[in-house]
């Protein structure tokens, strides 16, 4: 290790140079977004463009907050995220544990069915989900945003994998102590799965916060819109008023970025254990 480290560190500055250039290019859009948000609309439509705002102003933020119900939309995004995360972790952990450890008729058939659902692109479900939400009279409501995301074949699969890898001795000890299935699950197994639960929670939060298509479908009339839909529709209103658009984009991005910075390890673990997309 030490020999490799010293041999490697001799040329390491060159790698840093490449990485720093790459990272600098990666953050250009963010820097441009921030700089633009503090400019006036006149300034962004001059040529050649200025880099640093000539007269830094928070006018764009004021326009954004004055014309978009940010806090209402933030609330919708946040509440549906919490419903989705808590719901999915519970539902998936219960089912995942049953698949991993309990026996019941049809277990294998059902599990294969779950796996098949994993492979189907989400668009195949949208028409039926929309019909169901409409039938239940839930269009333009918070439950409509959150409910489909609570049930996830992927989450169930992830939790099953977590329970599969746990040693059976703990459960057997709990059972010898007289604990039943549910108590064994709740007090012994669930706490042991907390790192996978954290990964699942973080992934679900990411999907929920960023999702555009489903909210667009179930919140057509404007009530109970999350930030994504609000931000997208703001584009129609502010067309080319880029400072206001950038201010809005920035404000809506910050919450999840803050959570990410705080929970980096869980984010990376979630991504690494599962793959984000799909």
């Amino acid at each position: 290790m030490t020999s490799r480290r010293s041999a490697a560190s001799r040329g390491e500055w060159r790698i840093h140079v490449i990485l720093i250039i790459a990272v600098a290019l990666m953050v250009v859009p963010f820097v441009w977004e921030i700089l633009t948000a503090f400019k006036t609309n006149n300034e962004v439509s001059t040529l050649p463009p200025t880099i640093i705002p000539a007269h830094p102003t928070t006018a764009a933020f004021e326009t954004f907050f004055a014309s978009v119900p940010f806090w209402a939309q933030f609330g919708v995004s946040a509440i549906s995220l919490v419903l989705r995360v808590v719901g999915q972790v519970l539902v998936a952990a219960l089912a995942g544990y049953a698949f991993a450890r309990l026996r019941f008729p049809g277990r294998n058939v059902l599990f294969v069915l779950f796996l098949l659902m994993l492979m189907v692109p989400s668009q195949l479900f949208l028409l039926g989900q929309f019909d169901l939400m409409k039938g239940l009279g839930l269009l333009n409501t918070l439950p409509a945003l959150a409910i489909p995301g609570i049930f996830s074949a992927f989450g169930t699969f992830l939790m099953r994998q977590a329970f599969m890898t746990m040693p059976k001795e703990y459960e057997e000890a709990a059972r010898l102590d007289g604990a039943g299935t549910l108590r064994t699950f709740w007090s012994v197994m669930l706490p042991m799965a907390r790192s996978m639960i954290a990964a699942l929670a973080v992934l679900t939060s990411l999907y929920s916060w960023n999702d555009l298509l489903w909210p667009l479908i179930v919140s057509p009339a404007g009530g109970n819109r999350p930030l994504t839909v609000g931000l997208a529709s703001m584009q129609g209103q502010f067309g080319t008023n880029y400072p206001t658009l950038m201010a809005g984009a920035l404000v809506c991005t910050i919450p999840l970025v803050v959570v990410f910075i705080a929970l980096q390890r869980q984010f990376f673990a979630g991504i690494a254990s599962s793959g984000l997309k799909g």
């Binding site: 020999s3 041999a7 040329g11 390491e12 790698i15 840093h16 990485l19 990272v23 990666m26 859009p29 441009w32 977004e33 539902v91 089912a95 049953a98 309990l102 026996r103 019941f104 779950f114 659902m117 189907v120 692109p121 989400s122 668009q123 195949l124 479900f125 028409l127 039926g128 019909d131 169901l132 409910i147 489909p148 049930f151 039943g180 299935t181 549910l182 108590r183 960023n210 555009l212 298509l213 667009l216 479908i217 994504t228 997208a232 529709s233 584009q235 067309g239 984009a249 809506c252 999840l256 959570v259 990410f260 980096q264 990376f268 991504i271 690494a272 793959g275 984000l276 997309k277 799909g278």
Partner: protein
């Protein structure tokens, strides 16, 4: 909760094997997931399949029309254009994977600053795709965009990247690569960590340099992870919707007409024009295409993925 503790008594200690009993708690635990998946996933899937053979008006019952929707879709130049756009976008976004491999390998090699590099590469992943689309729409703007300004500094004439349908798919791809790099980097980084360092040490002793090591050790041993991100990237690229909607659709950009992807076509048919039957057909065709492409990739992997 305490009443729940009285689970089946006298269950055999050895729970595998034929004598094992049904645990009725299992059914209760699985019921929420099962009911939800049946109502929100399995049934919608089946009903989409059925609707794809129907004409479904906004009001009133639908009527079966055989394979009319399929015939109409396959005879529609707009579908082939969307398929071409989606395929081009997918191929271009896959070019981001070599980038991710190189950066993952470079990050792996540094002794300091790994965490900060990962965080910065990952930022686009935790940024709202809507916000991403808005920022890039501005950067790629033909008149006041940053890109054209930078290009003008080096004497290259700019283009209307997001207003001219000749360039829109390439513009989406640049944004798509930028957005996906962080995820691919993390998955590949996890793969790199599982490569034993002894292999590098041994090959150093044999006189191999870093580049030789990269091609003879890193790439082959990383190939399962590369295959995994290839599959994920392909599937998600085929489902691209957000960028088209944010960068063109929601601002009534005239380039939208020639820049649609398959999922945009689906959204438009289902929830703008309310032609559920036709939309269902698009969804089924998308499923078939994704399955075929994924199957092809699994077939091809035998030629290049190394499993030990």
């Amino acid at each position: 909760m305490t009443s729940n503790v009285s689970s089946p008594v006298g269950r055999p200690r050895r729970r595998t094997g034929l004598g094992a009993r049904t645990d009725w708690w299992a059914l209760a635990m699985i019921a929420p997931a099962l009911i939800g998946l049946a109502a929100l996933y399995l049934w919608p899937f089946i009903s989409t399949f059925i609707k794809s053979f129907m004409n479904v008006p906004v009001f009133g019952p639908g009527k079966f029309n055989g394979v009319d929707n399929y015939a109409k879709l396959l005879g529609d130049p707009g579908f082939w254009q969307a398929l071409g756009n989606t395929a081009l976008y997918t191929v271009l976004v896959l070019l981001g994977i070599p980038l991710a491999i190189v950066f993952a390998a470079l990050i792996q090699q540094v002794s300091r600053g790994k965490a900060i590099y990962r965080v910065l590469f990952f930022l686009p992943v935790v940024t709202l795709p809507v916000a991403v689309g808005m920022v890039w729409r501005f950067i790629l703007n033909g008149d006041f965009g940053l890109l054209n300004y930078v290009l003008s500094l080096v004497g290259i004439p700019g283009e209307y990247w997001v207003a001219d349908a000749r360039f829109t798919i390439y513009a989406f791809a640049v944004v798509g690569i930028w957005m996906g790099l962080g995820v691919n980097l993390i998955i590949l980084g996890a793969g790199l960590q599982s490569i034993p360092t002894e292999l590098y040490e041994a090959s150093s002793l044999d006189g191999a340099n870093r580049v030789q090591q990269f091609f003879s050790i890193t790439l082959p041993l990383l190939s399962p992870s590369i295959f995994f991100v290839t599959i994920l990237t392909t599937i998600s690229a085929f489902q691209m919707f957000d960028l088209v909607f944010v960068m063109l659709g929601s601002v009534n950009n005239t380039a939208l007409g020639d820049s649609k992807t398959i999922v945009y076509l689906f959204y438009d048919a289902a929830f703008v024009q309310f032609k559920q039957g036709f939309a269902a057909t698009i969804a089924i065709v998308l499923l078939i295409i994704i399955m075929a492409v994924t199957a092809l990739q699994f077939r091809l992997q035998k030629k290049w993925v190394v499993y030990d």
